[in-house]
């Protein structure tokens, strides 16, 4: 049989190649038992293949974002346990008017290639990232800085490659001048897009995007595409969070199911989020290695306020009524299997400035009151409403449950309106091609309530998908922006948030939680409100 022998030969030769390859490629990872930790050992983390080159301002998705966060460290970051802003490369970030910020750097910080981290490393990096021609996805993050419009014009080429708002004084001092007063600007600086870049980067951005050189707790070792990104602890790391392990290996998984199977058999140490199929059992499976922690993220359904049917003062009552018709507690417990927590406000739990109960009665299930409010408001147009969502994100179950709840409580004919995938749904929502309700949500960029409010509900804000425009909200939020301290800003935004209860542009549903776990190889695993583990604190058992 020619066919048979030919195939057999092929398999045999493939095996011999494989034996050679594994012979020299086996790694000394793994090993369990024992209570003490070994600071030289690495641990594995569930990741996904980055969708963009590993450049700090180009990582807006979790796959690349997590890796970049560990390779780079900016002026400040957020304390994983409290979410509060914490100085890293910066000694201090001072301002007297919330518009001009004086930054003083600590000395001694170096990049992984040994070159020092100076004021110039920051200013050059930001100028480069803000430049529209460099195609950084997070370039708009620099929009507050004076001169941004010159390097990032709305159309055409940049007129200069430097933002006038950034001035280097000496190696450890620089100033940032903003277009307007933004009291919480330092909070934004904790975002990874504001990381410094080494001199060499600017000569070969593409090459550095494949082999990044940063200044963070871990340094890049290798990127085996679709398989893993290996990092190791950077010996000269100057940050306040010195790693307690030898490095993080980011293993690429395409499904959470595969990652969970590996976690259970100790082939993966820490995972991101258990798959929906394991939600019911993961606490039994993992025992005290299961994690259930709050996340700075909220799920809402927004209204198409730009459509004539949803305008007019009285329609707010209809929206409030619909909100009261949703039995959040039951849905989070049953359909979502406890993986979410009912929302009582528009800002997620654990965020600076979070205040529970702003939504008040309107977020409490009450069918009678719901019916009454909808009637007072003139009823839902056509007594029917649709919730648009993306069918590829596991939203169908809860959208159906929300609709059932609305239908049973009020008799309004609610139905789901699935769009094939995320990008199609987004196109319909941002293109104003729908009428009714749509799934929306917000994941914090930084743990401050302003981020959940100004970026979503202010008139004309980039992510204002509902088309909400309230002079009162705009006034209160602008006042809050100009407050003297971050605390005052947070309080100011709490006032603005109250306006949302009156107008109900979007119904808050529930807060996200991190449902995760870890293997028997590691200990001291905690998660922050971004849903990331406190990387440097993970201990690998010796």
């Amino acid at each position: 049989m020619p066919a048979g022998t030919r195939v057999r030969w092929a398999v045999v030769s493939a095996t011999s190649v494989a034996l050679v390859a594994t012979g020299c490629g086996s790694s000394g990872d793994g090993g369990s038992g024992g209570g003490s930790s070994d600071t030289s050992k690495t641990f594995t983390y569930q990741s996904s293949e980055p969708q963009n080159p590993l450049q700090p301002a180009n990582a807006n998705e979790t796959g690349g974002g997590r890796i970049v966060q560990n390779l780079f460290k900016g002026l400040a970051d957020y304390d994983p346990s409290s979410g509060k802003l914490r100085m890293q490369v910066a000694e201090s970030i001072d301002t007297s008017d919330a518009q001009t910020y004086n930054v003083t750097l600590k000395s001694g910080w170096t990049f992984h290639d040994g070159t020092p981290v100076t004021a110039k490393s920051f200013v050059d990096a930001w100028n480069w990232a803000a430049n529209v021609g460099n195609n950084q996805i997070n370039s708009s993050w620099f929009g507050d800085i004076e001169g941004y419009k010159d390097v990032h014009p709305e159309s055409g080429s940049p007129t200069t490659d430097k933002m006038s708002g950034l001035t280097v004084q000496d190696d450890t001092h620089f100033t940032i001048k903003l277009y307007n007063k933004v009291s919480y600007f330092p909070y934004k600086l904790g975002y990874v897009a504001f990381s410094p870049l080494p001199e060499g980067f600017f000569k070969d951005p593409a090459g550095y995007g494949q082999k990044p050189v940063g200044n963070g707790p871990y340094q890049f070792v290798s990127w085996d595409h679709n398989s893993q990104v290996v990092t190791k602890t950077f010996a000269n790391y100057q940050g306040v969070d010195k790693p307690k392990n030898g490095g993080v290996v980011f293993k690429m998984y395409t499904t959470a199911e595969a990652a969970y199977a590996d976690l259970q058999s100790n082939n993966l140490d820490v995972m991101d989020q258990v798959p929906p199929s394991a939600l019911a059992n993961y606490k039994n499976d993992l025992g005290d290695r299961a994690i259930d922690a709050p996340q700075g993220a909220i799920q809402n359904v927004g209204f198409t306020l730009y459509q004539p049917e949803w305008q007019g003062a009285n329609t707010a009552k209809v929206r409030q009524g619909l909100s009261m018709a949703i039995d959040r507690d039951t849905i989070t417990k049953t359909v979502l299997q406890g993986s979410r927590k009912s929302a009582t406000a528009w800002v997620a739990e654990g965020v600076e400035g979070y205040k529970s109960g702003t939504c008040g009665d309107f977020c409490t299930y009450n069918p009678d009151k719901a019916k009454q409010l909808i009637q007072e408001g003139g009823g839902v147009p056509g007594n029917a409403v649709k919730i648009t969502y993306n069918a590829d994100g596991g939203h169908k179950e809860w959208v159906d449950a929300v609709c059932n709840s609305i239908r049973q409580a009020t008799g309004v004919n609610c139905s789901g309106d699935p769009k094939t995938d995320f990008k199609t749904a987004r196109a319909a929502i941002t293109g104003h091609q729908i009428n009714g309700m749509f799934r929306t949500g917000w994941v914090q960029d930084y743990p401050l309530n302003a981020n959940f409010l100004a970026d979503v509900y202010r008139t004309g804000a980039a992510s204002n998908d509902t088309g909400y425009s309230s002079p009162e909200f705009d006034k209160l939020s602008t006042e809050a922006d100009q407050a003297a301290s971050i605390q005052d800003t947070a309080t100011g935004y709490q006032k603005a948030e109250e306006q949302l209860a009156t107008d109900m542009p979007a119904i808050p549903l529930w807060y996200y939680r991190t449902n995760s776990g870890y293997s028997t190889n590691v200990q001291n695993v905690t998660f922050d409100s971004f849903g990331n583990p406190a990387w440097t604190q993970v201990e690998v058992k010796g």
Partner: protein, 308 residues
């Protein structure tokens, strides 16, 4: 024979052009904007979107995009993905993985499927025959992802014989379980096809002649019966090799194998034109070559078939 092969190879050229054009059109008619999707839930900055569109040549009319793409192909440049990696490099990474997995699966199909079918066909109505029929029926009726998860749970999580997912795709021993799962359905078909084919040919005249001539049993089965019965099986195996290459998405997902299926699935989701067109075109070529090989094998198996 040589002429025939040459003609078939030449036929692949228009198929290649047609396939790339069709796939190209299909990718670009997918709903949604890949550039806007890069920004996730956040609103996309219009100036940045315009600049990115220009970078990926997406600001040109479709026909220009296609010409640009084909022009690059002739310079052996398959384009770059959104990660900035050349597509040729992505394919060079993914294809060996999938080829290894497909060959492992193919091995099981031949060396388990064929003997099972042979035994069942030779001893029709026996317990062995019934057993093969029942087993293959079970395998055919269970979807592959169910089999995959069951196998993973039993052999990896409960028994700990193997790792739950493939840690190193170069290690062929780790590919045995995924390969078996991937092969299961086709294996059952191969067994059943062989069984039927053997059963029919057992009653053929030349078989009676061979027995009457007093030929030894192994010669009758090996040279006369099996060789004649293999034609439908080889046809199936040939096309199946193509299916194994591109259709392993589910198995690759369960066992976390970074093969063609996974890469393709991700690229389609991100609407990453160059990657999708590149990979699918290669898959089309694999199909074409596989079917050519099948046709040539007919001549080897059945001397009556001649190609001029």
């Amino acid at each position: 024979m040589g002429h025939y092969v040459l003609r078939r190879v030449l036929q692949m050229i228009p198929v290649f052009f047609g396939a790339t054009l069709l796939i190209f059109l299909m990718v670009y008619s997918l709903p949604g904007d890949p550039i806007a999707a890069m920004f996730g839930d956040k609103a996309a900055d219009p100036a940045q979107v315009a600049s990115l569109r220009h970078k990926y040549y997406l600001d040109q009319p479709l026909w220009k995009q296609y010409l640009h793409y084909m022009n690059n192909i002739f310079h052996l440049d398959f384009g770059t993905s959104f990660t900035g990696r050349p597509v040729s490099e992505i394919m060079a990474d993914a294809f060996p993985v999938t080829i290894r997995l497909a060959l492992v699966a193919f091995f099981f199909e031949i060396f388990i499927g064929l003997p099972l079918g042979l035994i069942a066909g030779l001893y029709r109505g026996s317990i062995a025959d019934t057993l093969v029929l029942v087993l293959t029926l079970i395998v055919i009726s269970i979807p592959v992802f169910v089999l995959g998860y069951i196998a993973q749970t039993i052999f990896a999580i409960n028994l700990g014989w193997v790792t739950a997912t493939v840690q190193d795709s170069k290690d062929i021993t780790q590919l045995i379980l995924p390969g078996l799962v991937l092969a299961s359905l086709s294996l059952a078909y191969v067994a059943r096809l062989t069984r039927t084919s053997i059963g029919e040919n057992l009653r053929a005249d030349y078989m009676r002649t061979a027995v009457a001539k007093g030929l030894p049993r192994h010669t009758i089965i090996g040279r006369h019966l099996l060789r004649n019965s293999l034609i439908p099986v080889v046809t199936f195996l040939g096309t199946d090799l193509g299916a194994l290459m591109g259709g392993a998405i589910v198995t690759e997902g369960i066992f976390n194998i970074a093969g063609v299926g996974n890469v393709l699935y991700k690229a389609i989701n991100q609407k990453e034109g160059p990657t999708v067109v590149g990979i699918v075109t290669v898959l089309v070529l694999v199909y074409l070559v596989a079917s050519l090989v099948v046709d040539l094998l007919y001549a080897v198996l059945d001397p009556r078939i001649r190609y001029a």
